[in-house]
Structure formats: structure tokens, C-alpha cells
Symmetry: C2
Subunit: 131 residues, 2 copies
């Protein structure tokens, strides 16, 4: 575990002692959720092999799945080039979102592809008008 | 654009006026990077169709790819169940990381799968010893 301990020194927590952890389904590759870890929750995650987070609203550690049974079994943990974000690949039991959705990102702000199509049509119309 | 404007009201910025944005490759589904946006950078992202972030270290807006040419063309923007994280699916030109790596998460904290195998071997050894 020497390498892991060395790597832990590279993790940079913010001024609140937290680091964002992106949770990705190792099979489907969908991004399931994002939550925050502190040093203790990262240690418990490494220890137990399931994800532990720090709830900013409740001010407490939580083990994802503890009440719902929807545990996340950790398959790999990576950190980014500046060490201030974690990417955790998991095997998700049940669903990731407390709303019952498979992942937390079900709200669409904008489907850019449609807007591009609109632009394309406008350009075609302009060309058509010129012709 | 009425729906988009309504959805923008659901976005919750933190006490520094920032929201984390996870950038995912729409084709390979790999998580490329995470960076922060403020309201202005999100607006510029919507406006231009490429990603704009707020650099916390430089205290300035930056358009990803502006100097490197490695633009990210936005294909979809989603926000999570509590509106405080963005998931942006992009078409990545070149590489996402300033180090030249395809994505920023090339550092491995722990490859959990190997640890599981270790545990399995330990259990098998124990069973073997009992037998």
C-alpha cells in the first residue's frame, strides 16, 4: 500500500477540506453523480470498497447505499492533473440518484445538437434566398 | 429559448458564484476534465457553443482551446438533481488536458480491482488452511 499512501499526498482538498468526486459507472460509462469527500470519507472509501461522502448540508459522513441498499462498489480511483478532483469508477447497485433516477443528471439545460440543426436550417434558408 | 432561460434559474452557484462542470466526451464517454463556471462563462458557453470556464487561479474567464486550438464543441448540457453540478457532453478537438494527455484523470490513486483480487486470494488461503 506504499504507492497508494504516496498518491494520497497528491490529493488537494479545498479550503473546506473537501474534494469533488465524480462517480462514473464502470460498465455503461455514464456519469452517475458528483459528491464531495473529505480525507476521512476517502479513507473509509479505500477501507470498505464502497463510496463514502461528506454531506455539506447535513455536516456528516454518509455511506452511499446505507439506507437504500444502492451501494457503489469502487473499481478504480483516479485523480486529475492538478490533484483537486477525483474520478471514481464504480459498479452501481440499483440507482445512483435519491430521486430514483439511474443517474442525477436527468435535467437538460440545453440540447445543443438541436440548436446546431436550427442554425444549419437558417444558413440553408439564407443560401436559398441568395440563390 | 424560453425553456433554456427557465432552466438557467435552476442552476445554483456556490458562495463564490461558481458551479463545477464535468466535461465528458460524447463519443467515447470518457470523463475528460472538470473545471468551474460562473454565470458569465456559462452564458458564453451557450452563446458560442464552445466551453468557457472561470480560472480560480488566474481570476479570469478562459475559452478552452483559445491558445491550444483544442476546443470543446458543446453537444448537450445537463444539470444534476439539486442543480449544483453541470455535465457537459462535448466533441473534443485534440486533447483535453494541458499536459497533452487525452484526459486529465491519468493519475491512478488505486486500482481497486487488484485489491479485491488480493482479498479473494486471502479468503481462499484461509479456506484452504481450514480444510
Amino acid at each position: 500500500m506504499a504507492l497508494e499512501e504516496m498518491a494520497l499526498d497528491n490529493i488537494k482538498y479545498d479550503d473546506k477540506g473537501l474534494i469533488p468526486a465524480i462517480i462514473q459507472d464502470i460498465n455503461s460509462k455514464e456519469v452517475l453523480m458528483m459528491a464531495y469527500m473529505n480525507a476521512e470519507s476517502l479513507e473509509k472509501t479505500l477501507e470498505t470498497g464502497t463510496t463514502w461522502f461528506w454531506s455539506r448540508s447535513r455536516g456528516a459522513l454518509w455511506n452511499k447505499g446505507e439506507t437504500s441498499g444502492h451501494f457503489q462498489y469502487v473499481k478504480a480511483i483516479n485523480y486529475d492533473c492538478d490533484g483537486d478532483t477525483l474520478l471514481i469508477k464504480v459498479e452501481q447497485i440499483g440507482v445512483a440518484c435519491h430521486t430514483g433516477a439511474r443517474n442525477c443528471f436527468f435535467n437538460e439545460l440545453v440540447e445543443q445538437t438541436n440548436r446546431e440543426n436550427e442554425v444549419d436550417i437558417t444558413i440553408l434558408e439564407k443560401i436559398y434566398n441568395v440563390i
